[in-house]
């Protein structure tokens, strides 16, 4: 499996751990990554709001730099990069005028892009749906059964439109982590927003949002929150102490990338998995993993008085 | 250079039960569409013989629409299955005659699809504007009087 690879700006700084472990995991899973030569920023959530067409041209330059014949799909580990690449490709395909304008701009740099030739994929999508949870499990050598892992997807898995996972209640990360043996509770805030750029423009709101996420994770006794997005990681990790001092809470929940968990499961040395870059220490989680005390899953006893509960839609065989 | 046809003339054969009612629905909802189509009511799209369509072209119609119920919803059980099978063959005949296939539109429009009807008619009318007038196309065209035409 060979894909083009778009690391995104965070790969060079705040999200270096994600980039590094993504590459390590990809190698182990037999995924060849071909980094886009001289890629540029995707504009994040800011550029589109300031100026429409340059934002499209900016992203399209990256798509134009992909050798579409060799790698018709591009992996982005960052959720924001992923939806920007996807949105630009899809809108250029849909809107003729946009396609013409963007290509006219690209031509100034000697480039062109035919929409539909490069499909953007999130790395989580590739791991869950191309490699498959089963194949990942086969590669894993350490069970995660001593850990309670909180799957936190953030906004862009399944939004703005349903793609590889559900809009409101995504499941791929849940399945991946349970497949590795971890205890994965139903984290109802799994696709809530992490605050995005709010720490920069409205700290009070950002802290409120983060507190809610951390509070529920703590209530579920999570040993770590597992994320597929560097923005979510940054906000939950770097501002956790701010939440504590603002609200008088005492959260110490490590925020780890799903690639780091995959690395652990596949037997990579923790010291190579960039845990040292976390602001909130990952040590307690790693200790627990070393001790390898499986968590006993509470047995479900049927309460005779209890009323029947509707099955989730996914388990209802009659609903197709 | 092809001549631009500003106002294409369109005859629509609409089945009474679905498409004609759908066209009524477009009216009840006041959905606007170009006035080029003139509707002729038939009991079923299966009633529309290729010959009838051909004669319509020969009278200088720039486009013909045959609209019926969706497959499975035919008022006459499966009369429209005949329509569905007949006209692909007729398209080949049109090729032979040198009539652009785009001049004949077969479409399923149900009684509740007034909006779809208006959309289809608008789109079809627009597409015909890009074709030259039929009348100029039929070099050998001899327009008969009604009586002559009916006598065959």
């Amino acid at each position: 499996m060979k894909y083009a690879y778009y690391p995104g700006c965070t790969a060079e700084a705040s999200g270096a751990a994600y980039d590094a472990t993504s590459r390590m995991v990809a190698k182990e899973l037999g995924i060849e990554l071909q980094e886009i030569p001289d890629w540029n920023c995707c504009g994040a959530t800011e550029y589109f709001s300031i100026d429409h067409l340059p934002a499209y041209a900016l992203v399209a330059r990256n798509l134009a730099l992909v050798d579409a014949d060799e790698t018709p799909q591009v992996i982005a580990p960052c959720s924001a990069c992923y939806i920007n690449l996807k949105k630009v490709d899809e809108n250029m395909l849909k809107h003729k005028d946009l396609r013409a304008d963007v290509n006219e701009a690209l031509a100034e740099g000697g480039l062109s892009y035919t929409p539909g030739t490069v499909r953007a994929r999130h790395f989580l999508d590739i791991v869950c749906n191309e490699v498959g949870c089963e194949a990942v499990r086969e590669k894993s050598v350490h069970s995660m059964d001593s850990l309670i892992l909180i799957p936190y997807y953030g906004c862009y898995i399944g939004r703005p439109e349903q793609n590889f996972d559900d809009t409101e209640n995504p499941q791929s990360l849940d399945r991946l982590l349970s497949g590795l043996g971890a205890h994965v509770p139903d984290y109802s805030l799994k696709s809530s927003c992490c605050g995005g750029h709010m720490p920069q423009i409205g700290m009070e709101i950002a802290l409120g949002i983060l507190r809610r996420l951390l509070d529920l994770a703590a209530k579920l006794n999570g040993d770590a929150i597992v994320v597929p997005c560097p923005m979510c990681q940054l906000n939950l990790d770097a501002y956790q102490s701010y939440v504590n001092s603002r609200f008088g809470t005492d959260f110490h929940i490590p925020i780890v990338y799903f690639t780091q968990i995959l690395g652990l499961a596949m037997g990579m040395d923790p010291s190579t998995l960039h845990f040292g870059e976390n602001v909130v220490s990952v040590e307690p989680m790693l200790e627990k993993l070393k001790a390898a005390q499986p968590i006993e899953k509470p047995k479900k006893k049927r309460d005779k008085k209890a009323l029947p509960m509707p099955l989730p839609l996914s388990q209802d065989k009659e609903q197709l | 250079m092809t001549e631009i046809n500003k106002e294409p003339k369109i005859i629509g054969f609409l089945c009474n039960w679905c498409s004609y009612a759908g066209a009524d629905g477009a009216g009840m909802a006041r959905r606007k569409y170009p006035p080029n189509i003139k509707i002729i009511r038939v009991p079923c799209s299966g009633r529309v013989s290729p010959e009838l369509v051909m004669r319509t072209f020969m009278q200088g119609a720039d486009g013909v629409m045959v609209l019926g119920c969706h497959i499975g919803d035919c008022h006459y059980s499966d009369g429209n299955h005949r329509t569905a099978k007949r006209f692909p063959v007729f398209h080949r005949f049109m090729d032979y005659m040198g009539i652009d296939r785009g001049r004949l539109r077969i479409q399923w429009v149900s009684a509740s699809e007034g909006l779809l009807f208006a959309e289809v008619v608008t789109e079809f009318t627009e597409s015909l504007r890009n074709l030259p007038p039929m009348r100029g196309q039929l070099k050998s065209l001899q327009r008969h009087t009604i009586a002559e035409e009916i006598q065959g």
């Binding site: 700006c9 965070t10 060079e12 700084a13 705040s14 270096a16 001289d38 890629w39 540029n40 920023c41 504009g43 994040a44 959530t45 800011e46 550029y47 709001s49 300031i50 100026d51 429409h52 067409l53 340059p54 041209a57 900016l58 330059r61 809108n91 849909k94 809107h95 304008d101 963007v102 701009a105 690209l106 100034e108 740099g109 000697g110 480039l111 906004c155 939004r159 703005p160 439109e161 809009t167 409101e168 809530s192 927003c193 605050g195 995005g196 750029h197 709010m198 920069q200 423009i201 409205g202 700290m203 009070e204 709101i205 949002i209 770097a238 102490s241 040292g276 870059e277 976390n278 602001v279 | -």
Partner: protein, 184 residues
Amino acid sequence: MSYDPNTVMGQILDDLPGGEKLKTCLQCGMCGGSCPSGPDMDYRPRKLFAMIAAGLDDKVLRSNTFWYCVSCYLCTVRCPQEIPITDIMYHLKHQAIESGLYTTDAVGFSETFVGQIENYGRAFELGLATQYYLTHHPLGGLKMGPMALAMMSRGRLTLRPHKIKNMSQLKAILAKAKELGAKK
């Protein structure tokens, strides 16, 4: 009903694919109820849409609502009328800048960010933070100190910006795109 193309509503209807759905807003409040940064907005999206419909353009463009939008798309996926709310927020930011009516300094963050991209081709987090805080929140920046320190000590903030190699190419592309965009 048609709208004057010079109004906020008119511009959304004309420029934004799917923008015409704005006319179908039911004022149900699903967007406002779902918005993570709703509490600090001057008006929640629902109210903003009512104000747009009422033609209170000045008030609309001066509000902080769209600057506080975190682009989480929750309102968009939940809107019962399928109004592309997040895209409308982007559009309103654009309109606010064009008209010069914005009062919030959130625009500073976006502009700082964009300025970086135009100079380096990539985002440079430390530079972004310093530049943004120095110019917009000299005191707020102090509060960010501990976080920046923690990040830097873990190697997560680089001191120098990464610049792409072919900056001249990117600049040419962006310049052309701006020129084309301005024509519209």
